[in-house]
């Protein structure tokens, strides 16, 4: 196997945990095809790869969530078998999953100590648990009350709790699967500081992220996984971003550039002096007298930190949350009093941030998800026209390039990127005038990201007004004609596509990392 040649990383330190010839098959599919992978003591090893490359599968095997079909796992040179996550945890291996695995109905403290509560003869030692939780959270630089309910926290804060939980067991090996996908730049910085601390303490870290630049910044070793095989393995200091991307996707890519060569149409969406109240604290406004015009064919990127009001603004425009002041005008028509359904019918649709929670109906097929928003148009007499629906689904799958065996496949069989394309396809197939996308690239790989952006650029050229939000500066400087920076519910700056990353980040109130 060619894997052998790249298996042992250059400059090998002491190897703590390693996988040898690990194969994992699901039914007839080989998710991992004989992988050799080493984790070094006190070092960060980053696993790069597209969605579906097998990263998560490999991590699940190393953390005891799943068992390999064949191959061996060596811990400190001795072969081990992890029957369960508890098994792995007892040996000091902890994992932070890509999808949050917290109980939203419990407090932060209870989540951190879930499954290993501190017992006393009279019950649980909540006081001590609370103290330790506060300590860990403080270390993470997050001001979260250990007694707060997880459901009351923002996604970014929930992610921090997830990290705190993994840290709380004194892990020797910490696996982080997309830990930053919901974090703001400041939060990411804090996380990186924590990672550096852990390294000094001799903790080995495996890191998975779609934010390549970010990952490259902290990693010591870079391992690239593609289609279930390891295609490259190098010291991080010897390589650059392009090197990784080339090995991940096999060729050059970029996230595109603003579509040009056409004139913008009239104003399609006018956000006029809109305010939105904070759910937890109604006296405060998360969006504060904000005005923004978007013209037909224009692509606007909303950049801002967590809590800057991006999500709230988009949800208010789409009709999901009420505005406390101001108007939303779609093509000259005030839609502020309309329901979500009416706004969608008028040509204004939102692709939500959390795909699993708000975007997809997991019990339905790919096709039923794709046609859900436009299904009302296929009524023939009393019934749905199956032919019309089928042709819409087929066109949708083709247009947004969903990789699937067909419209009848269960939605759960798709990878994250393809699921996202289905959510976008669903809104696009209603023929909107304005499309809002909240973090459309969250948790999807670069290839899919580029495809999503290309898709949006194509639609913009046909006259669609596009507004997308992101917390990655690199994504602002791709297809957007205009970059709007939000800070504490207001627009703090606007830039053209030629802006420098540093000025965008500075406008958002982010400390610039040099």
């Amino acid at each position: 196997m060619s894997d052998e040649t790249v298996a042992s990383a250059p400059g090998a330190d002491e190897v703590v945990l390693s996988a040898r010839d690990v194969v994992k098959t699901y039914g007839g599919t080989r998710a991992l095809k004989g992988v050799n992978f080493d984790i070094h003591r006190g070092r960060v090893t980053t696993l790069f790869g597209e969605n579906g490359a097998g990263k998560s599968t490999l991590m699940k095997i190393l953390s005891g969530v799943e068992q390999p079909t064949s191959g061996r796992i060596l811990l400190d040179g001795a072969e081990v078998q992890f029957g369960s996550t508890v098994d792995a945890r007892e040996r000091g291996i902890s994992i932070i999953h890509q999808e949050l695995s917290l109980a939203p109905n419990l407090s932060v403290r209870d989540n951190i100590f879930m499954g290993r509560e501190l017992r006393t003869p009279t019950g649980v030692d909540y006081k001590e648990e609370g103290r330790q939780s506060a300590e860990i959270l403080k270390e993470l630089g997050e001001d979260i009350d250990p007694a707060a309910l997880v459901s009351d926290l923002r996604l970014g804060q929930q992610q921090v709790v997830e990290i705190a939980r993994a840290l709380s067991i004194d892990a020797r090996i910490l696996i982080m699967d997309e830990p930053t996908s919901a974090l703001s730049a400041t939060e990411v910085e804090v996380l990186f500081r924590v990672i550096a601390d852990l390294k000094r303490k001799g903790v080995s870290i495996v890191y998975i992220s779609h934010h390549l630049e970010e990952a490259l910044q902290i990693t010591d070793f870079a391992v690239v996984l593609r289609d279930g095989s390891i295609t490259a393995n190098a010291l991080a200091k010897d390589i650059d971003l392009e090197w990784i991307v080339r090995r991940m996707v096999g060729d050059n890519f970029d996230l595109g550039e603003p579509p040009a060569g056409y004139e913008f149409g009239p104003v399609a969406l006018a956000i006029d002096d809109v305010s939105v109240a904070d759910v937890e604290n109604p006296d405060r406004s998360v969006v504060d007298h904000l005005s923004l015009d978007v013209r037909a064919g224009e692509i606007v990127c909303l950049y801002g930190l967590m809590g800057a009001g991006r999500t709230e603004l988009l949800e208010a425009v789409a009709g999901r949350v009420p505005v406390t002041g101001g108007r939303v005008v779609l093509q000259g028509r005030d839609v502020s009093r309309m329901s979500i359904a009416q706004r969608l019918a008028a040509g204004l649709g939102l692709v939500p941030e959390d795909r699993q929670r708000d975007g997809l109906v997991q019990t339905m097929t790919v096709g039923q998800n794709l046609s859900l928003s436009s299904v009302g148009r296929f009524v023939k007499g009393l019934f749905l026209s199956r032919d019309a629906e089928r042709s819409l689904v087929e066109a949708g799958i083709r247009d947004v390039r969903v990789k699937t065996s067909g419209g009848a496949a269960p939605i759960g069989s798709l990878s994250g990127g393809n699921q996202q394309k289905v959510v976008i396809g669903k809104i696009v197939s209603t023929g909107p005038k304005v499309i809002l996308l909240d973090e459309p690239s969250r948790g999807i790989d670069v290839g899919a990201k580029a495809e999503v952006f290309r898709l949006l650029a194509d639609r913009a050229r046909e006259g669609l007004a596009v507004v997308y939000s992101t917390s990655e500066v690199g994504e602002c400087l791709s297809i957007a004609h205009r970059i709007v920076v939000l800070r504490r519910g207001r627009i703090s700056a606007e830039f053209g596509p030629q802006a420098a990353k540093e000025e965008i980040m500075a406008a958002s109130g982010e400390a610039v990392v040099v």
Binding site: G52, G359, G416
Partner: protein, 377 residues
Amino acid sequence: MTTVPAAPKGQAPATSRFDLGKILLEGRAFLALIVIFVVFTILAPQSYPTVGNILVMASHVSVYAILSIGMLLVILNGGIDLSVGSTLGLSGMVAGFLMQGVKLGGVTLYPAVWVVVVIALAVGALVGLVNGILVARLKVAPFVATLGTLYAVRGLAELMTNGLTFSSLDGDPALGNTGFDWLGFNRILNVPIGVLVMIVVAVLVSLVLNRTVFGRWVYASGGNERAAELSGVPVRRVKVRVYVASGVCAAIAGVILASELTSASPTAGTSYELTAIAAVVIGGAALTGGRGNIRGTLLGAFVIGFLSDGLVIVGVSAYWQTVFTGTVIVLAVLLNAVQYRGRRRAAQNGAGSPPSATAPSTATAGADRTVLEKAAG
């Protein structure tokens, strides 16, 4: 060891695998029905497997089945309707009351039978509307809202006569209101009217679920209400309508039952809501919403009906009947759990097999599995 060529499961296209899952789902309830039938045929070969008995059992089943169909709509939508037993009782009582004549001033009006039926159904719709508004508009948890109407509606039914039964609903030829018993006693081609009504309701609702926008909306908002709402589904309107439909189904069942007995008792239908839920569950629907269908629910109703009538015929005590019915329900739920796990696995296997897919997406399918498990739990 003999080798039987195994069906190439992994290679089957996604569509046929999906259908196979469906067949297994309904096959399970069907298998239970066959087992019940065979067992009682052996125990009571003279009386159980006769055409006459089967039709009698079917007409018993029809009342439960119609209730269950309404219940299915609510459960698919992610709710529950505990008030159907009481609604059944109240609509029967309203029918009974109207058959006795309505005194207006000095005149007593005797409405025609069809008017009686329409008013009884309207009462069912009204109860459903109250449930729907409570749940969809006022955001009361379905369990609590319909538990409240369960009590209130039963109380109203009892208030109408202070707990007495309307005993003669035959009508009077002189008054032109005969024929109420037609629903319960008559047969067309030897099939009881109740069974025919059940078939009509089942076909109608099945068409609604599978072929109309409303049906798609019921499944979508039951599967993920937030996503459905963002997709432009009028989730609150859909919710109100499923409760109204459930109320109407309960009223239909109430009228049939009153007609069969030619009397209306305020306690009719007590605890029937539980039977209806059981039938829906045995039929493979998920109580979390989004999964289930009419065929399964009908089979579920038949399993319960044929089992309890069979136990009566072989002379098993009423107490044991309850134990048996309970056991069947628990077994059904156990099998549901096994089956959904299987389907998830199938979805996972399917992930890598699409011919065009260059990236096998097993990892994501695994992540979804956790999500589903959370949803199911």
